[in-house]
């Protein structure tokens, strides 16, 4: 912990902490924004195709949850766009003209998303059922488009290309090369699939808890099975995509890969360590599988893996043990979630039902939080692993940070505000769920885009 606490004295550490915290917060809401509309539409589609009132009720309620998380996500997203200037003016001041077009594209997707969220939420009663369903489809598509734009910008920071610099000034840009940089093919799908995994297991876990508490009706069953099935299908795909990503990183950013796997010296027959403490003379503790790291990189134990010693200490990512643990935790949780999916799949194949033991429901109940942990761990691997660079091997994070004073103040404020924001979001969602449990007829007082029913003006007081 000492290496985390000590550098907290500088502007750089304050800025990094604030960025990490606000991004780590937003990434959960963004994931819900990307994937939740798809689950909602699946429920809607099932409801219409099979004339299933339970599925329709789920879709209707999920649309209200989407409205709340979308509104909160819009706020935390705006904070991030301020932080591009407030925290990293030298980075955006130089490279904004290179990667910025991606955010302009994202802006269109966000605008469209906001419009169709409004149409879908308020279209439940008056639009014809199928017209209403189709009005929701753009939400799912724009969510993916927005995720592409933002993650492509992050990919560009990892694999910068498509620009010319002379005397510290960007003199030419090739937007096509910026948008389709080499990290896009693995980073973008990895994040979009992660959004579906997090949302799927998180939503399923809510209904699994409900079933554990005895609410074992058809409504809860569907509420768990729709998102759970989707997440269980996506998770093995994610494992393959993640495996490709790791191998590509070993090729594109070998030092990042070395830090993820705690490879100190460039060598062949490199041992794969599961957990353990990273030190200059190798991994202490942990479970070692001789030669396996080399095998994973190049399908042969003879594969040479670049070590951290290939670059000077100043060019290596910090907090090596944390990075390694984050990577192992992400892979570990993904593996466990695949096992959960197999459990469901095998049982379904044999008995046409999900496993009836409470242990299955308990496993689903924790899967949501586990998926969020994996998401955050993966984000740590990407971001900390890129350090000390903000633009890989082009600009150091230390050179990107603002020279303005007061980041410690804003970081403290952000911690407080976001604690309240997070608590309020969870309280609001709980309140909604409690109301739903109590009433048969839907009321619509709890969505942020409140129905414009005309002002409920009280009598004028003379």
């Amino acid at each position: 912990m000492l290496d985390v606490a000590l550098p907290l004295a500088s502007n750089l550490e304050a800025a990094r902490s604030q960025m990490a915290f606000t991004l780590g917060f937003h990434i959960i809401l963004a994931s819900l924004g990307v994937a939740f509309p798809a689950m909602m539409l699946i429920a809607n589609w099932i409801g219409l195709k099979r004339d299933d009132p339970d599925a329709l009720l789920l879709a209707r309620r999920w649309s209200k949850v989407v409205a709340v998380t979308f509104a909160v996500g819009a706020v935390t997203g705006t904070v991030l766009s301020f932080e591009f200037g407030l925290l990293w003016p030298a980075f955006t001041g130089r490279y904004g003209q290179v990667f910025g077009v991606l955010f302009a594209i994202e802006g269109i997707f966000f605008f469209l998303e906001a419009i169709f969220v409004a149409i879908y939420i308020f279209g439940w009663k008056r639009l014809s059922p199928w017209a209403h369903f189709w009005s929701g489809v753009p939400i799912a598509i724009t969510g993916i488009g927005g995720a592409f734009s933002v993650v492509a910008a992050n990919s560009w920071m990892n694999q910068p290309q498509g620009y010319t610099i002379s005397n510290g000034k960007v003199t030419d840009v090739d937007p096509f090369k910026v948008i389709f940089n080499p990290a896009v093919p693995y980073e973008v799908p990895h994040m979009i699939l992660a959004a579906y995994i997090v949302t799927g297991f998180l939503v399923a876990s809510v209904y699994a808890v409900g079933m554990l508490r005895g609410r074992r009706d058809r409504y809860h069953r569907l509420g768990m099975l729709i998102p759970l099935t989707l997440a269980c299908i996506v998770t093995p795909i994610q494992f393959a995509v993640g495996d490709t990503a790791a191998r590509s990183i070993a090729d594109h950013q070998p030092v990042k890969f070395a830090a993820m796997e705690c490879v100190q010296k460039t060598d062949t027959h490199v041992t794969e360590y599961i957990y353990g403490r990273c030190t200059d003379d190798g991994v202490k503790g942990g479970i070692g599988i001789p030669g396996f790291d080399s095998f994973l990189v190049g399908w042969s134990t003879d594969t040479k893996v670049t070590g951290l010693d290939s670059v000077p200490p100043d060019d290596r990512p910090p907090a090596n043990t944390m990075l390694h643990w984050a990577f192992d935790t992400m892979v570990g949780i993904c593996t466990a979630l695949i096992a959960l999916g197999l459990w469901l799949g095998i049982q379904w194949w044999r008995k046409r039902d999900f496993p009836q033991t409470p242990w299955f429901l308990r496993a689903v109940a924790v899967s949501g939080v586990a998926a969020i942990v994996a998401l955050e761990a993966g984000w740590i691997v990407t971001e900390v692993g890129r350090q000390p660079w903000v633009v890989y091997e082009e600009m150091r994070t230390a050179d990107a940070v603002t020279k303005a004073d007061g980041i410690w103040v804003t970081f403290t404020l952000v911690l407080l505000l976001y604690a309240v924001l997070g608590a309020a979001t969870i309280l609001t969602l709980r309140l909604m769920s409690r109301r739903w449990r109590g009433v048969e007829v839907e009321d619509d007082t709890d969505v942020p885009y409140g129905p414009s029913a005309g002002p409920e003006l009280s009598e004028a007081t003379p």
């Binding site: 301020f82 077009v101 302009a104 008056r126 603002t402 414009s452």
Partner: protein, 344 residues
Amino acid sequence: MSTADAVAAVLWIGATFYAVFGGADFGAGFWSLVAGGSDRGRRARELIDWVLGPVWEANHVWLIFVLVVLWTGFSEAFGSIFSTLFIPLSLAALGIVLRGAGFAFQHTARREALAQRLFGASSLLTPFFMGTVVGAIASGRVPVGNAEGDAVTSWLNAASLLTGALFVATSAYLSAVFLVSDARRARAPDLETYFERRAFATAAVTGVLAIAGIVVMHSEARYVYDGLTSEGLPFVIVSVLCGVAVMVLLARRATRGTRPLAVAAVVAVVWGWGVAQYPYLLPTELKISDGAAPDPTLVGLLIVFGAAVLVVLPSIALLFTLAQRAMIEETDAPQPQYPAEGNA
């Protein structure tokens, strides 16, 4: 007109939309704050709540639009502004977070009065500090570079503070004019009178602040002052005429024309500033042509802007059409929202 000028114009279009829609929105928050105790201010707040909700998200997007176009098209200016003006921009962002949170949870907050206070106070924070930022830029206090300007005096000076106050007053004025029409639509003559009085009062305050601003700019922001009194003068005159016309119409209780004219008054000021400052991004430090991104990026931005016009506008039209035809309403007695009337 160069590509860089075209992108600067796009930036200004975004800023104009934010000034009008965001301004009206912030102004409504201001009126909610000053409406008085929970009983006395209840009716005014009910009207405000009604008009605010559905358009909030769209207004929010304009700010993000401005930020992204600025950092993509004019990266150096963006970095310079955000590092020197770290304090007021952090406070403006704080206002946005508080307001957004208040909006997201308005219907579920247990202590509604507290939520309303917070919402109202945050509606003051953002326009005021955005105003100090504009004042700092106009008065040439933002040098090029990473936090090269003074962290405090760059925005804590007469020109910036006056601009901040002017932004708050303009928002309140614009919003009061809008709320008069909204009150008429809600068939609440008492609120019509209520906001008419306030529209008059804020018009007077805005006028006084504008005159004071011009006096201060004469000494502190000479470049922009000279621009406003030469190339920008027609815009200033249009703004004054529109402002006066709104007052006349309100006094005669006219049912039409007040909102477009009030909007025109604000638009004229925004473009007057732009023309006065041209060709500088940061007077007299950085010119548009010197601070602009390479051409492929600027062309990319213009393409994206064109795509936005082609894709987003029809979608907004669809949203407003559905709203007007009561296709996306939950209740039986729908009322159109103000941007849906098409005269804003």
